[in-house]
């Protein structure tokens, strides 16, 4: 019977549970933040959030209201700005579904590390968002541009970035943990992909921007920005960005082209289907050396000259040309990095892994060592397939 009493007591206590929904919040009380923008401001930071309006995205009766809204606020710290935003937002901001964080260019040039602490400390933040820099633009403006097809601009940016990385190569998804480790671990510097707008951002913020076939303003994935410590110091151009991805083994699929040859005019393009890069480091008598070994497999995708791709020797010739071109791209990229004195490729880390003992002596002086680093580039290029047709159309033209 004693058992009985305690069970009854327990049951009774469950009633108290009902009063204690401390952490619960209803879906309709959340303002789901899809993107966050951080800009420099005289007070410290200017924070912009892009909040989606679920009723406008998935509701039954759609109106002409925009599917997202942005709010901006300044503050001494990111957290303060975020909390101060509550005076303007209708609901509590919910950060777990963040897709993208945009850092203004000016802000990035001034150093980003302080603002990252909150982002990695907050429990609502997850890891699956990408960080980018808005090139020549404030993050706030970029977040206001409405995008066609994708109703949530942040999703558009994220998926563009993903597709660009997967199919075109001069872009790179950088998630928070990677950025943080690049900023903290010696022997590697950070990069972030840029974002730029074509057209006026002010026009892009109007609903008309998505009401016409040819949007007035569109956002583009730009080239890769290079950091030194936590400051943005310069940009790779398209080729250098590609080279960067070749070195860091981040190419999944891209295309490359070369001139057909001396006699024939026109170009031949290949689709790179597989790329594998190995970095080897060695230190001989205190002279560090890095060997980049890249193996590329590609298919011929587009032949715009009268060349016989069925000829083994021609294939070899094209392979040779492509190999040379890739080597050039890689070297260009390294040249630029050396110019900016930023080891974005993580060569230092390679040495620390493979020659841990000697690395200890180089570590403190790595900036200087990197500028004089001896780098050997070895590219292997294999053409595997020729697509669905064998002979070129041009060769058989009447």
């Amino acid at each position: 019977m004693k058992k009985n009493g305690s069970k009854a007591l327990l049951l009774f206590m469950t009633i108290f549970l009902l009063t204690g929904c401390w952490s619960s919040r209803e879906l309709s009380d959340l303002a789901v933040v899809t993107a966050l923008g951080i800009d420099k401001h005289e007070d410290g930071y200017k924070l912009t959030v892009q909040v989606m309006d679920p009723g406008e995205i998935a509701g039954k009766d759609l109106t002409t209201r925009t599917s997202v809204t942005t709010y901006s606020m300044t503050g001494k710290t990111v957290f303060e700005a975020l909390r101060r935003l509550t005076v303007t937002t209708p609901r509590k901001l919910y950060l777990s579904h963040l897709r993208i964080i945009l850092l203004g260019q000016e802000f990035s040039e001034g150093g980003i590390s302080q603002s990252l602490d909150f982002i990695s400390r907050d429990h609502e933040m997850r890891l699956e968002f990408s960080l980018m820099i808005t090139k020549n633009m404030e993050a706030e403006k970029a977040l206001k541009i409405l995008t066609p097809i994708e109703k949530i601009p942040a999703n558009k940016i994220y998926s563009s970035l993903q597709t660009a990385q997967d199919n075109w190569a001069p872009a790179k998804i950088v998630e928070l943990d990677e950025l943080v480790s690049s900023l903290t671990v010696p022997g590697k510097e950070a990069v972030l992909t840029g974002l730029s707008a074509v057209g006026s951002p002010e026009v892009g913020a109007q609903i008309e921007n998505v009401e016409v076939v040819d949007s007035h303003t569109i956002v583009n994935i730009d080239e890769i920005g290079v950091f030194k410590d936590d400051k943005l110091v310069g940009w790779f151009n398209e080729n250098e960005s590609k080279g960067f991805n070749y070195i860091t083994d981040n190419v999944r699929n891209t295309i490359g082209w070369v001139e057909c040859g001396k006699e024939e005019e026109g170009t031949i393009s290949v689709e790179v289907t597989k790329n594998e890069t190995k970095l080897k480091g060695s230190i001989d008598s205190n002279l560090p050396k890095i060997t980049i070994e890249t193996t590329i497999e590609a298919n011929i995708a587009d032949v715009e000259c009268a060349i016989d791709v069925y000829d083994q020797s021609k294939i070899k010739e094209i392979e040779g040309k492509l190999k040379k071109k890739i080597e050039e791209i890689i070297k260009e990229s390294i040249g630029k990095a050396k110019e900016l004195n930023s080891d974005v490729f993580g060569f230092g880390q390679v040495l620390s892994r493979q020659e841990p003992k000697q690395w200890k002596q180089l570590k403190d002086n790595w900036d200087k060592e990197f500028a004089d680093l001896d780098i050997e580039v070895k590219v292997k290029f294999n053409i595997r397939g020729t697509g669905t047709i064998t002979e070129t159309l041009l060769g058989n033209m009447k």
């Binding site: 327990l10 204690g20 401390w22 952490s23 990695s120 429990h123 997850r126 890891l127 699956e128 943990d177 943080v180 480790s181 903290t184 671990v185 620390s352 892994r353 493979q354 841990p356 003992k357």
Partner: protein
């Protein structure tokens, strides 16, 4: 049907695994990695090996008298009053382990899952659940652990399988080249943290229906537990890298955040939480049970159930005031806890063993 409580070998194995994993599965990697860096998975391996050795020693103690738990053994070997005094100290140690685990779980929940919920409420809730289990007895606890163990196993397997594609071998290089000292140092807190605590389970060995099986079960349990700890640490390092593993308080949970399959099966870090909830729940329950048994032995009570509720009151109060914050907890584990745990997990058993063997020789001669 049997009036005497009995558990079987398999159940004991599972209890040992649950106790080894305990909260170490989620906090361990960060603690170890802060010393061992890239090689910290080897630290865990070393710690596990030492853990197995330690367990072998515990089994020797068990052989001294197969029908007595450690509290009775203390009285038998050291005399009534000294024995009771040491028992009392040991009970305090067990009490501390209960509080530590309870607090660790409460802290985790209010950090990651239910941020606005007061710690006191969370701890109360967990403790009530454990109290229900403890009052049902060790047989029910071990049988329930048998029910939940498959889920823990499946969850660990899923976790490892799902993050496997993100693993990069370069993240644990260079292997065994630098920082050997740090690697060895990393093993130390881990030995103190789950492995020495296994002495508490020594009390349950007499409840296993076949003594031979109990010994085997203990060793198998600690081996599997050590292996799982090693694999989880290795996965943390391979996927998150040393840096993130050290920076996060609960790296295994962050590892769960990395799961992403076809862009839809993501955000399932709750799998990790489930593994951990189950392991720590059963750890708290078993230790709480031993604690109650210990107290009842000291007070010469017939049933341990009499003291469960009063002990629960003490636990609540101390769990809340014990540590001001999470940082304190993790510093405590790497600092004060090691000598404390070693006193009871290493020194005490050695004394027991020496005294026991001496007495045995005496009676023989």
């Amino acid at each position: 049907m049997n009036s005497e409580v009995k558990i079987n070998g398999r159940q004991f194995t599972i209890l040992v695994i649950m106790n080894t994993l305990g909260s170490a599965i989620i906090m361990g990697p960060a603690i170890v990695a802060s010393y061992g860096r890239e090689n910290s998975w080897i630290s865990v391996l070393i710690a596990s090996m030492i853990g197995i050795l330690v367990v072998l020693m515990y089994i020797q103690i068990f052989k001294l008298d197969r029908n007595k738990d450690i509290f009775q053994l203390l009285e038998k070997l050291l005399g009534k009053w000294l024995g009771k005094f040491i028992s009392f100290l040991f009970v305090l140690y067990v009490f501390y382990v209960v509080i530590g685990n309870l607090r660790a779980m409460g802290d985790f929940i209010i950090t990651h899952i239910l941020v606005e919920t007061p710690l006191e409420v969370m701890i109360l809730l967990i403790l009530i659940t454990c109290l229900i289990g403890v009052r049902m007895g060790i047989e029910v606890i071990s049988r329930t652990s048998e029910v939940f163990f498959p889920y823990v196993a499946i969850a660990i397997f899923l976790l490892i399988a799902m993050v496997f594609k993100e693993a990069e071998v370069t993240k644990i290089q260079p292997i065994l080249q630098t920082n050997i000292g740090g690697m060895l140092a990393g093993a130390v807190p881990l030995i103190g943290y789950p492995f020495f605590e296994l002495i508490i389970l020594l009390s349950l060995m007499k409840d296993v229906n076949k003594p031979e099986k109990a010994k085997k079960a203990f060793i198998i349990g600690v081996t599997i537990g050590g292996f799982l700890l090693t694999s989880i640490t290795l996965m943390c390092l391979l996927v998150l890298g040393v840096d993130l593993t050290v920076r996060n308080t609960y790296p295994t949970y962050v590892l769960g955040k990395k799961i992403s399959i076809a862009d839809f099966v993501e955000r399932v870090e709750v799998i990790v939480a489930i593994i951990w909830f189950f392991t720590i729940f059963f750890k708290i329950m078993t230790i709480f049970y031993v604690l109650s048994v210990g107290v009842s032995r000291i007070l010469n009570l017939k049933s341990y159930k009499t003291v469960t509720v009063p002990i629960a009151y003490f636990i609540i109060v101390f769990a809340v005031v014990l540590a001001p914050n999470v940082v304190y907890t993790s510093q405590f584990i790497t600092g004060t806890w090691i000598p404390l745990s070693a006193t009871f997990g290493l020194v005490l058993p050695i004394i027991l063993l020496v005294v026991g063997l001496l007495k045995e020789n005496k009676t023989r001669s």
